[in-house]
């Protein structure tokens, strides 16, 4: 399996993915024309025919045996330039008086566009058949090597928005307590509209003044900044790379946004550039030994490639690749590679992380 930029020929595969993804992954439109538009936007990003801050980099996880797309992931160079980007900023308001012995800290939600111009860890979807062999980890974390290589194309800060809590029936207590009063529709409908790229209605209908959290239902209060149970693993992965909750939440379901400085992301900070040796004897990666895997990128932009190698292939700053690996990576011995361990070394994780 390897990672490469999305290509025009992937359209049918993408459309398959979209149908599989169903609701919940609103960024994969279940509509061929829209999917083509999304694809073209990605192609022009890699072709550098659009301004840097307009770019969406879309990557495919490819099964080389079938040349079939098994999953996709994306990086947004800079958010909030085509649409307005909304979050609630979770602030504090204190009411206090010495005289009558009152001191109360309450949370307040401020409608904000503060995250505008951040970069974003966006869409990720992996076909169920391929949810094994570290494919999810590779697909998600491969982006950090791209960030490390081309940091000048991204903002200093990068964020990821996490799906918020909803119950088994898809009901969001936060929506029911807040958004519903203003949008007069169900959460799933609002979510669907946003997924279609229709965001103007948000500005039109959203309450503009701050919302006092104590005025929401108890259930709603408890979901502020809480992720959907299915999103816990993704959150854990981001946290392991150094992302932290930044006090911004989604305006619909109050799912948290997490943020990091690009330079501080574990996989960016720890990645290193190595010489390349091509050798039939290169060790095969053992996909069951999670801690013994390396991500290797070819450091190229238009022909960006990432795959997994064995930690033992890296000796004294030189990476040994098999001819097959080198071919997939489009690397020769005169090239260099960028590598980092697939997962953080648990013993090196900062004590309090």
């Amino acid at each position: 399996m390897y990672i490469r930029p999305i290509q025009q020929q992937d359209l049918d595969d993408l459309y398959e993915l979209a149908k599989l993804s169903g609701i919940g992954v609103t960024s994969l439109p279940d509509d061929k024309a829209k999917m083509q538009a999304k694809l073209e936007s990605a192609l022009s990003s890699f072709n550098e025919t659009v301004a840097e801050q307009q770019r969406t980099y879309l990557f495919a996880l490819v099964d080389p045996a079938k040349e079939k797309v098994a999953g996709i992931c994306a990086l947004e160079a800079s958010i909030g330039h085509n649409d307005i980007w909304y979050n609630y900023h979770v602030g504090k308001t204190v009411h206090a008086s010495h005289e009558i012995g009152v001191h109360k800290i309450t949370q307040t939600l401020h409608l904000s566009n503060d995250l505008t111009s951040s970069s974003e860890i966006a869409t990720l979807f992996l076909t169920p058949d391929y949810r094994n062999n570290q494919n999810g980890q590779l697909l998600s974390r491969s982006r950090y090597l791209f960030l490390a290589e081309f940091s000048e194309l991204f903002s200093e800060q990068i964020i990821a928005e996490m799906r918020g809590y909803s119950d088994e029936n898809g009901r969001s207590p936060f929506w029911d307590s807040l958004g519903k009063h203003f949008f007069h529709m169900e959460f799933s409908d609002a979510d669907h509209l946003t997924g279609l790229g229709n965001k103007v209605f948000i500005a039109e209908l959203m309450p503009k003044f701050p919302i006092y959290v104590p005025m929401l239902s108890d259930a709603a209060q408890q979901t502020i900044g809480k992720v959907h149970p299915q999103t816990e693993p993704a959150l854990a992965m981001l946290k392991s790379e150094g992302f932290e909750y930044n006090n911004y939440v989604d305006i619909f379901d109050a799912g948290p946004s997490v943020a990091a400085k690009v330079k501080n992301i574990r996989a960016v900070r720890e990645s290193q550039i190595t010489a390349v040796v091509i050798d039939e004897q290169a060790p095969e990666p053992d996909l069951n030994n999670k801690q013994a895997l390396l991500m290797v990128s070819n450091r190229q932009f238009k022909d960006y490639r990432v795959l997994l190698a064995s930690q033992s292939a890296l000796v004294d700053g030189t990476l040994m690749l098999s001819p097959q690996q080198a071919t997939l990576l489009q690397l020769t011995e005169s090239d260099s590679a960028r590598v980092v361990s697939l997962r953080p070394n648990p013993s090196l994780t900062p004590t309090g992380a």
Partner: protein
């Protein structure tokens, strides 16, 4: 005969007794003796200080039974609501939330903290002996203030406001307070009410939420009570609406009760008011009127009968003349009861 006159220092204990007997909430009169005494002293200054229009003045009247000398009610006026500090209310406004794309439009009621009523004339501190609640002396006690304002043209803002008590019960349950202020000041309504009288309403108002409140986010019971008055206020509301007062967009920030407003010159009391010279007489029949003297420092007002003739003086009974402290030829004001 019941006489309205300025409160004086020796009324202190009588007022205290009166307040303990009345059921109505009178947040604007403190039950604490020191503070009550200060209120009386401020009022005395206000009545004496006829020349100075610059400073906010806080007037307190009492209703005295001239036979027994006992007090049966109090009522007050602040020449400037807030007394130089912000006078807080919530202002009910509606925002239109409409989407062109979705072709929907709805009006969302929102409460905005507002100082807009600051500096207007505020009628307050109304408390009456329950035995007189359904009598004409209820009207006397309340409307005497309009007589005073009307005779002292130029000393008061032309717009008068009155805060009417909102919905709460004896146990201190107040749906509006419980849903709004209490989320920030965790005290029950009766305690807050106590602080409002003791500490000043402004002090308390500064503690409540400053950002606008979206009404749809309130529990229905709280939302329903916005601008609703307590049934104990029916009598005063009936009187004020008859005077020409109307419900404003403003509500009390604590209990959600309505603020009524009217311009002095549009009140019935003012419109029906006439000025003539006093002619104390044995015979003084006729319709019932509020009759007052024309003095600032020693304002007095009673209910009496008279017949308005075409001359510049009217006959009033000797008893009325004595109560008002007027002699023949002194100015009188009167308005139909």
């Amino acid at each position: 005969m019941y006489l309205i006159r300025p409160a004086i220092f020796s009324d202190l204990t009588s007022i205290e007794r009166l307040l303990s007997e009345t059921e109505a909430r009178v947040t604007t009169l403190p039950k604490d003796r020191d503070q009550l005494s200060e209120r009386i002293s401020e009022s005395s200054d206000a009545f004496l200080n006829a020349a100075d229009n610059e400073q906010p003045a806080s007037y307190l009247f009492v209703m005295e039974d001239t036979k027994s000398g006992e007090l049966h009610g109090t009522s007050g006026i602040d020449s400037e609501a807030g007394n130089g500090y912000p006078f807080f209310n919530y202002r009910l406004d509606k925002l239109v939330h409409a989407s062109h794309a979705l072709n929907i439009s709805s009006k969302v009621p929102v409460l905005f903290l507002s100082h807009e009523l600051t500096g207007k004339t505020l009628m307050r501190s109304f408390a009456i002996d329950p035995a007189l609640h359904d009598s004409e002396y209820f009207d006397l006690l309340s409307r005497a203030r309009l007589m005073f304002m009307a005779t002292q043209a130029g000393k008061f803002h032309q717009e008068i406001i009155v805060e009417i008590q909102g919905i709460f019960n004896d146990k201190g349950d107040c749906p509006f307070w419980d849903a709004v202020g209490r989320k920030f000041i965790d005290l029950d309504f009766l305690t807050v009410d106590y602080y409002c009288s003791k500490k000043s309403k402004t002090f308390m108002s500064e503690l409540i939420p400053q950002h606008p409140i979206y009404v749809p986010l309130l529990p229905p019971k709280a939302a329903e009570n916005i601008g609703r008055s307590h049934q104990a206020a029916n009598r005063i509301c009936q009187l004020l609406y008859k005077e020409g007062f109307q419900q404003s967009k403003f509500i009390d920030p604590f209990d959600g009760g309505p603020v009524l407003k009217c311009e002095v010159k549009f009140t019935q009391t003012y419109r029906n008011m006439r000025f003539k010279k006093a002619y104390p007489s044995e015979v003084a029949d006729g319709m019932k009127y509020l009759i007052s003297n024309h003095r600032h420092d020693d304002f007095r007002c009673v209910v009496g009968t008279l017949v308005e003739g075409i001359g510049d003086s009217v006959r009033i009974s000797h008893e009325v003349a004595e109560a008002l402290n007027v002699e023949q030829g002194d100015s009188l004001a009167f308005s139909l009861l």
